[in-house]
Symmetry: C2
Subunit: 437 residues, 2 copies
């Protein structure tokens, strides 16, 4: 993509109302624009990141046999009356009356809807287990939306639901998601830590939040230092028994602020780490809470009707864009992990309009794209300083910088955004380096 044509309205000034780094950087980099309080439009740069995150989430959901559906945003209030949540849900639910005076709502989540779909269609234990997910916009009418896409009112969430014949089955579905989530975040270049979360009246041990570490994170956490070091997922077979892997994780100490245990921490001694984190996912088992009132029953092997066991599994997809920036930025701007970068390479022409410089850059642009690379080519008539600043701001992993002086010797500069390392190397070596995977 040529930057001269790309719609990427960067801002030099830091917007006054943006309190946290990701909000400031997303506005400054032209990734999003606020439409109204807590509601954002995604501009091309931001939308590309959102898509990369969606793709990874989809691939990892598909990998555990979770099937993609798409439920609508507007739901009937009657559905929520069946589960008893319509009146219980507070003012965060956006309630709507349609032209026929029917009570509707903008879905803040989809337990009722998916349970109805399942109950209408599945009759036999032979069709179990079943896991379904969708990635759809949700609305929660936060009283004070803030922090940009980190706590918006309209937000994109992946929510999955599992249906099993019994508790053992539900435990397997839960474990699949537990491991799948660790893989999902790892693929985005993130270190996510599962933390035991409240199970409420259901009880048991099947509720975990996943937090990623960021110095600017919203909450304090404490955990065993092993969470930061190990690559525990190598070679895990998603179709195999995951109890052992899950136990390895859950056996180690990890606690959010409200759940910290001074005695356990004292026992850890030097193995204790405290850090700040951002919640990016939550999985939980809730048994028959929805299947019972909404009639999600199947005929069991003996012909008797069985009420299904359910769990739900959420990932904050639009929130992740902000969370990744919180976890990975510096003074100059965003530092994208490669798997979610909007483009992998930024090609900077230091003297647009200079015939030799233009020709060299056009050539590299074409070669890189032919090699399947995603390149943002800064071909604008701007000063070098402005181009460098924009490139650092938008945080593409690699900057390939070409100016007339270097090109006389066929040399270009290759900069790694994350390490800051710069190398003057030949054009050929730079291209080989960037296309060598």
């Amino acid at each position: 993509m040529r930057l001269s044509r790309f719609f990427m309205p960067t801002m030099k000034e830091t917007p006054a109302d943006a309190q946290i780094a990701s909000h400031r950087l997303m506005l400054r980099a032209g990734m999003v624009r606020q439409a109204s309080a807590g509601i954002y439009s995604w501009l091309p740069l931001g939308y590309r990141v959102l898509r990369k995150i969606i793709r990874i989430v989809e691939e990892e959901q598909d990998a555990i046999g979770c099937q993609q559906v798409l439920m609508p945003t507007i739901q009937s209030a009657d559905l929520w009356r069946q589960s008893g949540r319509y009146d219980a849900y507070g003012p965060e639910m956006l309630r709507i009356t349609d032209r026929h005076e029917r009570d509707m709502l903008y879905g803040p989540t989809n337990e009722e809807q998916i349970t109805q779909i399942f109950a209408d269609s599945v009759r036999s234990y032979r069709d179990l287990p079943k896991m379904l997910y969708h990635i759809q916009w949700k609305f929660r009418d936060e009283v004070r939306p803030r922090f940009g896409v980190m706590r918006g009112r309209e937000f994109l969430m992946k929510d999955a639901y599992s249906f099993d014949l019994d508790y053992e089955g539900a435990r397997k579905s839960y474990q699949k998601h537990f491991v799948s989530y660790l893989k999902t975040y790892e693929r985005m270049g993130l270190k996510a830590i599962p933390m035991a979360a409240d199970t409420g009246p259901i009880g048991g041990d099947m509720s975990h939040e996943f937090l990623i570490l960021a110095d600017t994170g919203e909450s304090e956490i404490a955990c065993h230092k092993d969470f930061l070091d190990n690559d525990w997922l190598d070679g895990v077979d998603l179709d195999g028994d995951l109890e052992g892997v899950v136990n390895t994780f859950t056996a180690k100490y990890a606690a959010t602020d409200e759940k910290r245990d001074p005695a356990a921490e004292a026992a850890l001694g030097g193995d204790l780490v405290t850090a700040r984190g951002i919640e990016v996912g939550h999985i939980f088992y809730f048994g028959k809470k929805y299947s019972e009132p909404m009639g999600a029953r199947v005929a069991g092997p003996d012909g008797q009707e069985v009420v299904c066991e359910m769990g739900s599994y959420g990932i904050g997809v639009s929130r992740l864009v902000g969370a990744i920036i919180e976890a990975s930025h510096d003074e100059a701007g965003i530092v994208w992990p490669e798997p979610v970068a909007p483009f992998r390479i930024g090609l900077v022409n230091l003297r647009s309009g200079d015939a030799a410089c233009d020709a060299a850059c056009e050539g590299m642009y074409e070669q890189l794209r032919n090699a399947g690379q995603e390149v943002l080519y800064d071909d604008r008539n701007e000063r070098a300083g402005g181009k460098f600043a924009d490139m650092d701001l938008i945080g593409l992993p690699w900057q390939l910088i070409a100016g007339p002086r270097g090109l006389e010797k066929d040399m270009v500069e290759l900069k790694n955004r994350k390490t800051g390392e710069r190398q003057e190397i030949s054009r050929e070596s730079a291209l080989a380096r960037l296309t060598d995977d």
Copy 2:
């Protein structure tokens, strides 16, 4: 995908309230389920088709330099007050009050929102032309929603918007979309005919609806027979001057019911064709209708401010799923054009549980998938008759049928869903045929 695990709740009975073929077939094939009046959940089979359509639309929008953004579903009423449409829009607009008593609405379209984004960000004629699109759910509170996804309340639309410095530029943007739309529909296996549509107070000739032909179409149309025959788009350069190509199309007679011209039709004689059609797209130029009240101005080459010229370009994405079925089905079910089929191949195991039959089918399933083919493998313990009926109902382009008798001689049956042609051929030939592209 193994059908024994795939969530595809087919129905034997025709749902009573479904009046048209696509609605009936989408319900029967387990593609969608109604959530409430005019609002549908997309189940895995339907969602796969929706995704294929989305992908084609995206590729063709990208090909003309239209850039993808994503605007939210919920908009502020104030935005629509600026354009004067808030009060003018009738009861089809879903009006919402949030917890702070602010007037909001579920966007039925996005002219206001995109114009505001543009106006906030673009300052100079150097940044023009600019074309932006998004694919997002819209809501129109139809008084009597019906015909399934063909006239739903919550529906998925691709809407694009162009910003130009002058009329000549706007005309070029319009022509790009005109040609792009013909290509888009052609890629879905559809014959779309552009029909002059009302321009209202704007006047001129830049408003066209695109209709695809279907015997069960909602409206009668008449056109020159050339529209049905020719492949006019071959070799068209989208970056070149498109005036000629567009004129070739618009010079031929084509009219929707309310615009038919008896004299013109009489003159055509034997070249006249009448048919039924379904609207699947609409493009129109509207000048300064939104840019003027919403302040979308740029500094022109002479430093003077210029109000931008705009156009908008819609494709009914979810509607297309129904429209394609209307255009392509028979007594037994859907007949998917290959580019939008949920899977390309249906592999039918006529005797699941028979060791030899299972082994042969598993082998073919793996070989086809390794060759990059999308295969739905019917491995269920069902009678052959039920499997055939389901396969015809869901309409995959190719059926590969394997039973114990044929396999003794290493023979399978390959059936083309569209032509109905069946061939008994060797397993090897069948696989070669299906992977030969």
